[in-house]
Point group: C2
Chain length 315, copies 2
């Protein structure tokens, strides 16, 4: 059976193999995803973001349990901050959530940054499509959420939760960084540590200063490790889903997502072409390598690469 | 006088205006940078990275003083985690380092993520070229360094310092994330808090496990707020510079940088073209907007965009 056929028939090894191809940026993965596209669009995509140490993984684990208790299947993609140099994944990510390993309704996968960051984003998108085609009802996408990685999660997922820890300075950093705006649902984790109420007020005050939104992001207090408040968090996500469907925002979000993905695919192709030309035995490649003083003009070189791409058929 | 001429003659307002054009992703900035390229390559580029709260800004401020005391001019670019939605910069970044405001040998600028992240990276590269052409001896590039942003700093700068705080869990997170490998110099800040020695050992042990490198990153202990150890940190950066020059690694680093920049320029052009086609009154644009169920195949659409780009002249 073809890999696509095996995946659609529910073969978990076919799914794992396909995601590995995506992670390796194997062109086969892209072809496979394109082929499976008609079978996608059914999964609900939930992004879990937040600073390191806020407990996103524990929250994911607890959410998986709630989602399974309600009879839905779930896929988890943990986009982890692995070394781009070694390609290694964080061991903890791979072995955590082991309590779900015997449940065939749960599929968990860590994705590492093997090589270029644009590559990780592309691999993550492909893995989501693969899980979607595989028939998962819900896909949780967990990313380290400090800095710039959140910006992508909001274009990749339908609903985005931002996890904060009380009294950690997280809330203040988040507000400073303008990351508040990424959240459809706030989750304050580790409420048992105290100070959660203060964090809640900080977020509320910051939101009050922002523009008026049709959807007012709820703030849910949880203790993921103790599995407290998780059902409420899931309800909040479902409310956001209902809002997106009723308001028509789901359609426009998904349209925007297709657009972003097309732009990313085109840019990735251009990047690959440019690298191939610069590494190869081409005019631009030789010009780059013959240069010793580092004073080569990248703008002129970029024009030359664009020219060579055009003369080679334009794409 | 042209903007390029004014900038080369040392007009600081011309420099500020040019950087604003870069930040706005105005095509004029790209043209200007291309025009100024023959005047670049003299500045030494130092990246300052580290997690939020580790004191990168205070370190930058203290380094500026040491560099100025040695008679060199300096430019500081603080790439800040601003909201991509509001385009606002963090006020603190703009007002800090105000003690240098009367010193014409110091130019400080915050850059925010107005729009796409690729755009911020491109704007930062352009700002560096502009400061270089303006004649700065040293350019400090400060970025929030959690997650994936460091990966770029190592291709943008000659020497990269990674700032850590003792006992903060930073070191462990950094080791887990494989970010160690990005550092040419480790700076342990806030040594007065205690626990610095333990952090130093953690880093040393992790380095001992890694591959043997020709350059062994030194670990410098500082208290940036008290201006202690800063001269040592600067000496460590200069040692790395000397190593790069002697080993020939500076040439290969800068060649690699030109390559990365060309690839980024080509990808940015492709992204712009794709957006223009998808937003415009084109076959692909109409197909995207007419789609209501979100099931459009991005791969097919990307092929169509590539086809339209090719038919429009290929670049």
């Amino acid at each position: 059976m073809s890999l696509a056929g095996a995946l659609l028939s529910g073969d978990v090894r076919a799914l794992a193999r396909a995601i590995s191809l995506a992670e390796d940026r194997d062109p086969q993965a892209t072809e496979l995803v394109a082929e499976l596209q008609p079978h996608t669009g059914k999964a609900y995509l939930v992004g879990l973001t937040g600073a390191p140490g806020t407990g996103k993984s524990t929250l994911a684990d607890a959410l998986v349990k709630v989602i399974r208790d309600r009879g839905q299947t779930v896929g988890v993609i943990a986009v982890d901050p692995s070394s781009p140099f070694t390609g290694g994944a964080v061991l903890g990510d791979r072995i955590r959530m082991s309590r779900h390993t015997l449940d065939r309704g749960v599929f968990i996968r860590s994705m590492g940054a093997r090589g270029h960051l644009g590559g990780l984003a592309a691999a993550t998108r492909e893995a989501i499509h693969l899980l979607d085609a595989y028939g998962r009802d819900v896909i949780l996408v967990e990313t380290v959420g400090v800095g710039q990685s959140e910006l992508e999660i909001s274009t990749i997922c339908d609903s985005v939760t931002l996890t904060l820890m009380p009294e950690s300075g997280d809330a203040v950093q988040t507000i400073k960084a303008g990351i508040l705006e990424i959240a459809d649902i706030f989750v304050i984790n580790k409420v048992d540590l105290g100070g959660a109420e203060k964090t809640r007020r900080l977020i509320q005050d910051a939101m009050a200063l922002g523009p008026k939104q049709a959807w007012r992001p709820p703030i849910v207090m949880v203790s993921a490790a103790n599995e407290e408040g998780i059902a409420k968090a899931w309800e909040a996500i479902l409310s956001h889903q209902a809002y997106l469907k009723e308001s028509g925002a789901l359609t426009s979000r998904r349209q925007e997502r297709v657009k972003q993905e097309v732009v990313a695919l085109v840019a990735e192709r251009a990047r690959e072409d440019a690298r191939r030309l610069l590494d190869g035995d081409t005019v631009v490649g030789r010009r780059l390598r013959d240069n010793r003083n580092g004073k080569l003009n990248p703008y002129t070189l970029a024009e030359e690469v664009l020219g060579e791409r055009a003369s080679q058929g334009g794409s």
